[in-house]
């Protein structure tokens, strides 16, 4: 294992950390564990270095320290020394993955995730058809009743219960404006399947704002989940396919509506800068990449929302998507849209910037930690009592709904994707 760390984890990146501790208050796992340095960015970096230098040998405790990291990257903007923690944890996970066979549970979740559904869109769609069938046929009700789901880890069961109902109807609400901007839509695998409706609305809203929206066929899962779990090569395999598909001068922007994907998409450039064939394409791709809120703002949605400004009837708040905030630095745009949305008063959620515990498939692999982090998040929610909790990422959306359900608040509030929120707010006005 030491060799693998030496090979994969950059010594220079490790040396950047001066152990000042500025990152500590930003790290949710440090805070939730009563300030355990093992679960702090500084502690993990020290452990990576110790693995490399042979000061510790690989054991369960070392593994646990890395596994518990959410990968939320809140430590990065907090670090004055500019330590690239995201790269370090990614490299660490590659180093581990190269040597270490996975636990049985983790293995099955990972296998299903990386080689199964997320590996190609076809399989993903297949899975969704199954979910659809499962929901429609009454099987959902039946399985819930007979406790079939008890066979799964508890968090999986909760996740299952908040899966969005998959809709099939098609109807256009808004009329499109003349087209001035050309946009390629990165549909995202979860977004394009479980959250199909949200994607349709994304397109409709973009067209309403005057965009010509194309959906390049044969696009793949962005590869973020692979990348963040030590399967970087598999992630980059998807990346290269995507770069081929989106390689066109026809687009002004490439837009995505899933915060978790967006970060990895913009990092294609970094990951492929050594790849002579793809470096150029990746740079261009990352330059054009934009998240949906930022594009809405650019296309002038704020002004149009303000025109319909009406009295606020309830509170809307926002839970940041970690990657959108910490990596892509998109913080103000979604908030500005919510502030201008008719019918709602925007109020900031306590610690909106801290991770909700979803973090890719973290909530499946570390259910106990995820639960504690979510419980903390829900404290703030209960204090604020919003009618809508807006999110920018499917993982966060489901996680927040799990939280709402757990607190039995589903009659008072709802977690929604920012696109759905805006769509509905606008629809009500017109």
């Amino acid at each position: 294992m030491q060799e693998s760390f030496k090979e994969h984890v950059s010594e220079d990146h490790l040396m950047d950390c001066m152990k000042c501790g500025f990152c500590l208050p930003a790290c949710p796992t440090y805070l939730i564990t009563d300030q355990d340095e093992t679960h702090s960015p500084r502690g993990r970096i020290a452990l990576m270095k110790a693995m490399r230098d042979g000061d510790v040998v690989w054991d369960g405790s070392v593994e646990d320290a890395f596994d518990v990291c959410l990968g939320c990257r809140a430590c990065e903007p907090a670090c004055p020394a500019g330590v690239q923690y995201g790269s370090l944890i990614e490299e660490t996970r590659v180093a581990i993955q190269q040597v270490k066979p996975q636990h049985v549970v983790a293995k099955s979740v990972r296998k299903a995730t990386f080689d199964g559904v997320f590996a190609d869109q076809g399989k993903m769609t297949g899975t969704v058809k199954l979910v659809q069938l499962y929901q429609k046929s009454g099987l959902q009700k039946a399985t819930r009743k007979i406790g079939f789901l008890n066979l799964f880890p508890p968090f999986m069961q909760e996740m299952e219960s908040v899966l969005p109902a998959i809709e099939t109807k098609k109807k256009r609400t808004f009329s499109a404006k003349p087209k001035t901007t050309r946009v390629a839509f990165f549909t995202g695998c979860l977004m394009d399947t479980l959250f199909q409706e949200t994607n349709k609305r994304t397109i409709e809203l973009l067209e309403w704002l005057g965009a010509d929206v194309q959906i390049p066929a044969e696009q793949q899962c962005c590869g973020a989940l692979h990348g963040h779990s030590g399967e970087l090569e598999k992630g980059l395999r998807n990346a290269r396919k995507n770069l081929d598909v989106f390689d066109s001068d026809d687009f002004d922007y490439i837009v995505n509506n899933a915060g978790g994907c967006g970060a990895f998409l913009t990092e294609y450039e970094n990951h492929l800068k050594e790849d002579s064939q793809y470096a150029e394409k990746a740079a261009q791709f990352s330059r054009k990449m934009i998240d949906i809120s930022s594009l809405f703002v650019k296309l002038g949605m704020n002004a149009r929302l303000k025109e319909m400004k009406s009295e606020a009837h309830s509170i809307v708040t926002y839970q940041d998507s970690c990657h959108l905030r910490n990596v892509n630095k998109v913080i103000l745009e979604p908030r500005s849209l919510l502030m201008d949305a008719p019918g709602f008063e925007y109020k900031e959620l306590i610690d909106a910037s801290s991770c909700c515990g979803s973090a890719g498939i973290y909530n499946l692999l570390q259910p106990e930690m995820a639960k504690r982090i979510l419980d903390l998040k829900m404290k703030g929610v209960k204090e604020l009592q919003p009618a809508k909790i807006v999110t920018s990422n499917p993982g966060c959306l489901m996680q927040m709904n799990v939280g709402i359900k757990r607190e039995k608040l589903e009659h008072e509030m709802q977690a929604v994707h920012i696109v759905d929120f805006l769509y509905e707010a606008i629809q009500k006005q017109s």
Partner: protein, 471 residues
């Protein structure tokens, strides 16, 4: 002595408050000091003085070293368990116990984060002035044990000026209380002051009562940029000699300005050679008058531009930038070593110049920032521990900087403490008899030398000759 069995400790603190896995021991093997590391045998999180007393009794009997650790942000290797033993954490002792608005005191456990105290009392219209740059992270127990200073030290003093009472566990396990809420107390030796700044070598602090003062009605923040370090330093002296005591007077050189700008992108002029951050608080008229006068002095001394912060947010941003200085500098090279040389404020200009010359002489990269108003400078060396030859030159440069500070009537540390890192230089400052007296005190309180051994007192004092004769 190594910990033979963790069973008795587990019985005291409970299984959930004991750490001993490989990863956990490594995670407590360092603090913010570059180039010091050693693993403890056990990490404990006691919940009260009584538990600590029990732990100490076992350690006294078995000669096990005990290292108290707040957040490990000290810059003197004060919490590195260089002789193994037990690390004591205060993460389960982090409650605010009492706010006494009649006596203007607050009583807290040692694990409370400093900024949480500042914020808590400010809500009530009260003020706890000490604000080390690390206050978002550091614990009050660490502050008291290091006698930390901060950006407001010039006008309001340092931690010791606010400690009213302490509860602590002696090296024989006895629980003791010194001081009280009273404003005056001269009964006997000043044991309270002895404990403040004792860096965990005399006892374990378990409860702290702090003095509070009324929150100043207003404050204003200004900045001045200069073409030369000298002009900035002269401004500091001029402000003080005009009998203005600003709440804050902070200094950053060009390298530091640029590093901070890289991190915060707040629009600092990258071409400026030096900047002064000044703040005054108090009643509005006085504040306005003082800040205007300081700006005028800066201009007279050659400031290329000056400005007033137009909002609280802008002022906070400027101060946050200054607080991030050290870590931001770390961007430049793999290893960052910060020093804490302090001189009387009249000597600031000379000291700044000396640091520059020494850096040139030894061909090392040193950037300086610090609490200019109280003469407390942080020359910070950017280097690479992997380069033995360069590290040697760094060491020589720092020795010469310490010497220069002492020759100007200064000291080897203004606020970061001695710890293990600076122990070899302590004698330079306090002399042989000073060391002897301190050793006697340590010996009589902690005869078994179990409390943070190896700190403050070095095995050997550095030979001053080394730098003078160049070997």
């Amino acid at each position: 002595m190594k910990v033979q069995s963790r069973k008795p400790f587990e019985a005291i603190v409970g299984t959930e408050n004991i750490k001993y896995s490989q990863a956990q021991l490594l995670a407590y093997s360092y603090d913010a000091t570059a180039n010091f590391q050693a693993k403890p045998d056990l990490v404990l999180s006691p919940r009260n003085s009584e538990e600590i007393s029990e732990i100490v009794k076992i350690c006294a009997k078995e000669q096990i070293p005990l290292v108290s650790r707040g957040s490990g942000t000290n810059l003197a290797a004060g919490t590195v368990p260089s002789q193994g033993g037990i690390i004591l954490l205060f993460n389960k002792m982090n409650r605010i116990l009492e706010l006494d608005e009649n006596n203007l005191t607050i009583t807290v456990q040692p694990g409370v984060i400093t900024q949480d105290i500042n914020a808590y009392v400010e809500q009530k219209g009260l003020f706890y002035p000490p604000d080390p740059s690390s206050m978002k992270i550091s614990t009050i127990g660490g502050n008291v044990s290091e006698n930390s200073g901060g950006l407001r030290g010039l006008k309001y003093g340092v931690t010791k000026d606010y400690v009213r009472a302490l509860t602590f566990v002696l090296p024989d396990g006895e629980i003791m209380k010194v001081g009280g809420k009273l404003a005056k107390d001269v009964a006997g030796y000043d044991l309270l002051s002895l404990l403040v700044g004792s860096e965990g070598t005399l006892g374990i602090i378990t409860e702290i009562t702090l003095k509070l003062i009324p929150l100043p009605a207003s404050k204003m923040t200004g900045v001045a940029y200069f073409n030369s370090l000298e002009d900035a330093a002269k401004t500091v002296s001029a402000i003080i000699s005009q009998k203005i005591i600003p709440a804050t007077l902070e200094f950053m050189d060009k390298g530091t300005i640029n590093a901070v700008e890289d991190f915060m992108s707040m629009g600092l002029p990258r071409e400026a050679e030096a900047m002064l951050l000044m703040e005054q608080d108090g009643d509005p008229e006085q504040v306005e008058r003082d800040i205007q006068q300081m700006i005028a002095i800066a201009k007279m001394e050659g400031a290329t531009s000056t400005a007033l912060a137009s909002s609280i947010e802008e002022a906070e941003l400027l101060k946050a930038g200054r607080r991030a200085a050290l870590s931001a500098l770390a961007r430049k090279r793999p290893t960052t070593i910060l020093e804490d040389a302090t001189v009387p404020r009249s000597e600031i200009a000379k000291m700044v110049r000396a640091i520059q010359e020494i850096a040139e002489k030894y061909k090392v990269q040193i950037n300086t920032f610090g609490h200019a108003g109280d003469g407390n400078l942080h020359p910070t060396c950017l280097t690479d521990v992997r380069d033995a030859e360069e590290m040697h030159r760094v060491e020589q440069a720092f020795e010469e900087i310490f010497l220069a500070a002492i020759e100007l009537g200064g000291t080897i540390t203004g606020e970061h403490g001695v710890g293990e890192m600076k122990a070899p230089y302590l004698e330079w400052k306090i002399g042989k008899s000073g060391i002897e007296l301190m050793k006697h005190i340590k010996q009589s309180i902690d005869p078994g030398n179990i409390m943070n051994p190896g700190k403050v007192f070095a095995k050997e004092t550095k030979m001053r000759l080394v730098i003078r004769g160049g070997h």
